[in-house]
């Protein structure tokens, strides 16, 4: 067993930490306050290769490991969880399914566009009546000559307002249940598509969470992704991988809370000494740090298994479950340690707290994670 970083993991950590500190951090408060999509940061990240971390170089990706990817998402999310998830969605939910299931033409065009950052991707899965229950989809795709005609609504789509491409999951044959579901690559520059309602959210306010409206949206027949009827499988596989990204985002938020709370506890003097000298504070920090480290090991192990081509669905679910709950706990305790200051917008702690909550919800709630883990144990 070897817990040391490889050369590229270490450089990835150093580079993204430095980049996040100098480029992401100064904008984080504004991104949150003004619901500002960090367009320039995304452009810079694209230049560095962060929009297609694990995509092979022949499709303009960096060809790096999932462990490197996890490190990058954690470092970006350490200062801005919104920036972290924009990158995570493009990598895990948009590039990954095309990389795994796309044909050569699709990879050359769509994957290369998204991995290079020329275009931004999103995943169109959730619907008003189909969230965790992905099989119950109402969006339909009907073949008409050489085109698929898509009708329906997707909601809560991260990157939906800015995305150029959507990996869309839709029903082609309701009678076949799961087997009637297909995945498509939709170029959103299409008269049959428009962005609907944009959600006003508790956290990750720099990202758009959009409704995607498809009305007789016609796309080429060859934009079917993977085999006919395999869309449900594609969606589940995509979400398994996405959980490594969200676990990493949660780790970044948790670490932000722990580091800020630790620094504050050392500076804040009460009763004539820093509150870090109080055992009540020490135990909180000790517990949080232990749980953060445990979640990080789980996350890196899930990423490692994925890199090795081994099954990792259970491990990714465990990583996301633990990391997201640590993020929530760390930010809750973080505010407690900062006291009144933690509750104000003068400190970023309240932002970490608001951002943390979504990690327990999206790409599968904590309850779904437990379901996935249990079904893997009991099968």
């Amino acid at each position: 067993m070897d817990f040391s970083y490889t050369d590229e993991e270490r450089m990835m950590l150093q580079m993204t930490r430095d980049f996040a500190e100098k480029t992401v951090k100064p904008l984080a408060a504004e991104v949150d306050k003004n619901h500002m999509y960090p367009r320039q940061t995304v452009a810079k990240m694209a230049e560095l290769g962060l929009m297609g971390v694990t995509v092979p170089p022949e499709y303009e990706g960096a060809g790096m490991s999932n462990v490197c990817y996890s490190i990058a998402i954690e470092e970006l999310s350490r200062h801005c969880a919104a920036t972290g998830v924009i990158v995570s969605v493009n990598n895990s939910l948009a590039c990954e399914p095309v990389k795994l299931f796309g044909n050569e033409e699709q990879k050359k065009k769509y994957l290369a566009d998204m991995a290079s950052g020329r275009k931004l991707g999103c995943l169109g899965l959730t619907e008003p009546n189909a969230g965790s229950d992905a099989a119950n989809l109402a969006t339909t795709a009907v073949l008409d000559g050489n085109e698929w005609v898509i009708n329906g609504r997707k909601i809560f789509i991260t990157n939906g307002n800015e995305a150029d491409y959507c990996i869309l999951i839709a029903q082609t044959d309701k009678s076949k249940g799961h087997r009637g579901i297909c995945a498509f690559i939709v170029d959103l520059d299409n008269p049959g598509f428009q962005v609907g309602t944009l959600e006003d959210k508790l956290g990750i306010r720099g990202t758009s969470t959009a409704e995607l409206v498809f009305e007789d949206c016609r796309i080429p027949r060859e934009n079917l992704l993977g085999e006919l009827g395999k869309g449900f499988r594609i969606a589940l596989t995509t979400l398994d991988g996405g959980r490594i990204g969200i676990a990493s985002q949660a780790l970044g938020i948790a670490r932000a809370a722990i580091e800020d709370a630790t620094a504050y506890a050392k500076e804040r003097v009460q009763f004539g000494k820093p509150i870090a000298n109080l055992q009540a504070i020490q135990w909180m920090l000790a517990d949080l740090t232990t749980e953060y480290e445990a979640a990080r090991l789980l996350t890196h192990r899930a990423a490692y298994l994925k890199d090795q081509g081994q099954p990792y669905a259970k491990e990714a679910a465990m990583a996301k479950l633990m990391a997201s709950e640590v993020a929530m706990k760390a930010t809750t305790k973080g505010i407690q340690i900062l006291g009144g200051y933690g509750y104000t917008t003068d400190y970023p702690m309240e932002r970490y707290f608001r951002d943390a909550k979504i990690t327990e919800i999206y790409e599968g709630t904590s309850e779904i994670m437990r379901l996935v883990i249990a079904s893997n144990i009991l099968k």
Partner: protein, 256 residues
């Protein structure tokens, strides 16, 4: 165009310094490429990108220094040479300059870049010592560099101002903040760095003996500075506080 860039691996500038047995301890300290050396690496890579050629990064150090050199390779340098030898472990600026000069004597170069000083010992000696040992002109603390025909025009910081110099090439230049904006290594750059050559050479390989690099300045001991005591915070209405402050400066501190 062949460019040699000298770098040093140093403590992170935010590192907390602790002393063990009269020496600064490196336990648990994050190591980085000396920030001024990064400007040197960046300038070298830009010149190569513009004019073609090769950038070779060189350093004196230990096993860990390979990480710093790999980082420079990830930024875009072409290959690296590390001088590593037990006899250099307690070396001073003289030791490093002698070893580097011997290495460079057998290399081809048009330009040599260094950082203006290392943030650890803050000595600012190696660039000038290296230039002397190679009998080259030097221009230290430069904030701009323009390549000409057989010469370069640079701006360097002097006390209270700047100076524009024309320098005959080849020459040694030491970089100051402001020379450029340092890039981050891109992800493809990091992947490529793995496959680039990083050669480790000993003093024997260079034809040097331990005696040749014996330090001229030896550390007797390092200690922490006495902590500065917090003074008092003056409270009250602005006018009162300011009046009190001026009085204290005149009568207690006696500085105005």
């Amino acid at each position: 165009m062949k460019i040699v860039t000298c770098i040093k691996q140093t403590f992170d500038t935010e590192a907390k310094i602790t002393i063990e047995n009269g020496k600064v301890s490196d336990q648990g300290v994050n190591l980085i490429v000396n920030p001024y050396d990064e400007f040197a690496v960046e300038e070298s890579i830009r010149l190569k990108e513009k004019n073609g050629g090769e950038v070779v990064v060189v350093s004196v150090g230990n096993d860990k220094t390979q990480e710093a050199l790999r980082y420079c390779l990830a930024m875009g340098a072409d290959r690296a040479v590390l001088i590593q030898d037990p006899a250099l472990e307690n070396g001073d600026n003289h030791s490093a300059a002698v070893a580097l000069a011997k290495l460079l004597a057998d290399m081809e170069y048009d330009l040599i870049f260094c950082g203006k000083e290392a943030v650890d010992d803050g000595a600012a000696q190696v660039p000038s010592r290296l230039a002397e040992k190679l009998d080259l002109p030097q221009a230290n603390v430069i904030t701009s560099f323009e390549l000409g025909d057989g010469q370069a025009t640079v701006t360097r910081e002097i006390d209270g101002g700047t100076e524009t110099l024309e320098v005959q090439l080849p020459a040694v230049f030491s970089a100051q903040k402001g020379l450029n904006e340092v890039r981050y290594p891109s992800l493809p750059g990091i992947m490529k760095a793995k496959r680039k050559e990083l050669k480790v050479v000993s003093l024997a390989d260079l034809g040097l003996s331990a005696e040749d690099v014996a330090p001229k300045a030896e550390l007797v001991q390092a200690e922490l500075p006495p902590p500065r005591k917090a003074g008092r915070v003056l409270k009250g209405e602005v006018e009162e506080v300011v009046a009190e402050l001026v009085k204290l400066l005149q009568e207690e501190a006696k500085v105005i």
